[in-house]
């Protein structure tokens, strides 16, 4: 296996983690990772130097943005159930809460936050992945954190109701 493919293979666990948090759906997440790898393999000749991992995060982030755009063009199917976390306590409730809190974020803010907090990328790397200035990354981060805090502190914004 070539060095390039080795570095792709090595990046998969982290990509799956990022994709899972980004989509909160195991199957969609792995679909995204698969599409990311296929694109990377096709574009191997375009990749000369630099960090393969950042490049893969970039592809995956873009693919997910495209996916959401496609979804936005047709009626959403995901129902939002209310009150199903009521009986939960402890770590399970925490996990459910953080999932929901992440769901409530705008996509670019969610991606910025996850790349920093979960994937450990620097602000500069996130700026490259998202194709924006560092200042934009920082304001996305700030907004994401403020909203998560409001959500987790209990002043939950009314969920967007989807019919």
């Amino acid at each position: 296996m070539s060095a390039f493919r080795n570095s792709l293979q090595a990046a998969i666990p982290a990509l799956r983690r990022y994709a899972r948090a980004l989509t909160r759906d195991a199957e969609i997440a792995d679909d995204l990772v698969q599409d990311t790898l296929v694109r990377a393999l096709r574009s191997e000749h375009l990749f000369h130097e630099g960090d393969v991992r950042s490049w893969l995060y970039t592809i995956l982030t873009n693919l997910n943005r495209n996916r959401l755009r496609t979804l936005a063009r047709r009626p959403t199917l995901a129902p939002i159930e209310e009150g199903d976390a009521a009986g939960m306590t402890g770590p399970e409730a925490g996990a459910r809460d953080i999932e929901r809190a992440l769901s409530a974020l705008v996509e670019d803010q969610r991606a910025a936050l996850l790349l920093v907090v979960l994937e450990g990328l620097s602000y500069r790397e996130v700026a490259e992945v998202q194709g924006v200035p560092i200042g934009t990354v920082m304001s996305r981060l700030a907004r994401a954190r403020a909203q998560l805090r409001a959500y987790l502190d209990g002043e939950r914004p009314p969920l967007r109701r989807i019919k």
Partner: protein, 262 residues
Amino acid sequence: MVHRDAPILEAELHAYVDGELPADRRAAVRTWLTSHADDAARVAAWQAQADLINARYAGVAQEPVPPRLDVDRLSRVDRRWSLLAVAAVVAAFVLGGVAGWFGRETWAGGMSGMRVFTTDAIDAHKLYVVEVRHPVEVAGTEQAHLVQWLSKRLGYDVRAPDLGPIGLKLIGGRLLPGASGAGAALLMYEGPSGERFTIYCARSGAPETALRYQVAGSVAAFYWVDDNKGYVVSGPADRDRLLKVAQSVYDQETAPSDKNRG
């Protein structure tokens, strides 16, 4: 000289939490937080969020990687598709007669698109019906899962028509890259003597049509466009038999009821 108590900006608090500050600024922020409870609470909340996110998702990286994400495997599949693309170009020349045939149909915009569409479908048919061990990705025995998965990936309801009454059994299906990059579903059926038929379905902007027939060597296809979806039913070049299959698929796919939905 910077005043010791120069206010710390929010940006610096984030950079502090994320380890992006140089050592001297880090110390200054730490000092600031001891006397500014609001900011200290914010920083603590952000750190708690990071902990929750990691507690929830960090474990995913420890899970075994599913085989479908194996890089070697993916590159093999992808190479096969590159070869197929070459084959499709060759086939486009071979099927020049078909192009002329299409030309008669005065399909202004839809013509070339539909030609690519049917060529893709017939190529996929030829490629996969000869597979003995891996003709499909998901077996027909898991029909509910197959239909659900394809529907989810393609963004519309994919159905697996019941062709039992005309002697065909569902072997299964797979997801393919469609001509427009939107993806396509390929469902495969098998008859009593091992002859195989496929249904290729993908989004198509071409105008609606009734059944049309096309021959490409030993393989033939009926295709049509309905409700922005194109269907190609391919099989051995036996017009009457294929028409029966296509008719049955057509009737079920365009049926208004949900009775065939997986």
